[in-house]
């Protein structure tokens, strides 16, 4: 995977995450709601940075789709939390690919490393304390 392919794939993941966190937040309350909104803001910021990195390379960032179909119906707090977990696992995978494709020390590598750390921490929180065992190597291709 080239760095441009990894950037476009990462942008696609963040487009989905932006939509998904908005959908999930509508079914959450209290701390999980606040966490979903914080994740949404972070996702939008990273989406803009990824788009900038593509523009810097003379490329047009792929736009978001008007809507996305979640992998399972989101009808309550439990299914919304499960969607949030899946969004972070997707982010972990995209961050891994970004890191592997980027050059040592460059901005793309830095972005990927930070993103992977954030996504793994969020995934652990959505999974709940000890409820679901997270993979030992977040983002590792299966």
């Amino acid at each position: 995977m080239t760095v441009v392919e990894a950037l476009q794939a990462a942008l696609a993941v963040e487009h989905q995450a932006g939509y998904g966190y908005g959908l999930a937040a509508a079914h959450l309350a209290g701390k999980p709601y606040t966490a979903a909104l914080a994740a949404l803001a972070d996702t939008e910021s990273r989406r803009d940075r990824l788009a900038d990195l593509l523009r810097q390379r003379g490329l047009t960032p792929a736009p978001a789709a008007p809507a996305y179909v979640p992998p399972a119906p989101v009808t309550d707090a439990s299914t919304a939390t499960a969607l949030c977990l899946r969004l972070e696992h997707a982010a972990e995978g995209a961050a891994w690919d970004l890191i592997a494709a980027a050059s040592p020390g460059d901005e793309v590598r830095r972005l990927g490393v930070t993103w992977l750390g954030v996504a793994a921490s969020r995934a652990a929180r959505w999974a709940g304390a000890g409820a679901v065992a997270e993979p030992p190597l977040p983002g590792q291709p299966s």
């Binding site: 592997a100 020390g105 590598r109 793994a120 977040p138």
Partner: protein, 132 residues
């Protein structure tokens, strides 16, 4: 049937020829390899440091009877191509080592020469951050 048999026969001939041709070239390559300077692995020091951390953490959690955390750090060690020594060094405070090693692993991931090595180091750092 006859056509099929001849095709099988032709494949065997090609296969044998390939083996016979490959052997002398392998010897030439082997002869050259001895005289080639060995390039140092630019990521060797970072990987060795990460292995040492994972050995200490796995040993500490093993001593504490925390099999889940021990296995997680053994998985990290395996991803780094390492194994547990017979008498591994142990961390006196594994929670602190987990926390303090995360930014070091992230820095090593940013500077790693090889992309796959960078991804493994960053993933281990991410797991340490998530374990807080």
């Amino acid at each position: 049937m006859a056509d099929s048999a001849s095709m099988r026969s032709a494949r065997v001939t090609v296969s044998r020829r390939t083996i016979l041709l490959a052997a002398p070239s392998a010897m030439v390559v082997a002869g050259c390899r001895d005289h080639r300077p060995v390039k140092p692995d630019p990521d060797a020091a970072a990987v060795a440091a990460a292995r040492d951390t994972e050995q200490r953490l796995a040993a500490a959690y093993d001593a504490a009877g925390d099999a889940r955390r021990r296995d997680e750090h053994l998985a990290h060690l395996q991803a780094l191509g390492g194994v547990m020594p017979t008498a591994p060094p142990s961390a006196s405070d594994p929670a602190t080592l987990t926390r303090t090693s995360a930014p070091l692993l992230q820095s090593a991931a940013i500077e790693a020469y090889a992309g796959p090595v960078a991804a493994v180091l960053a993933s281990i750092a991410a797991a340490h951050l998530a374990a807080r």
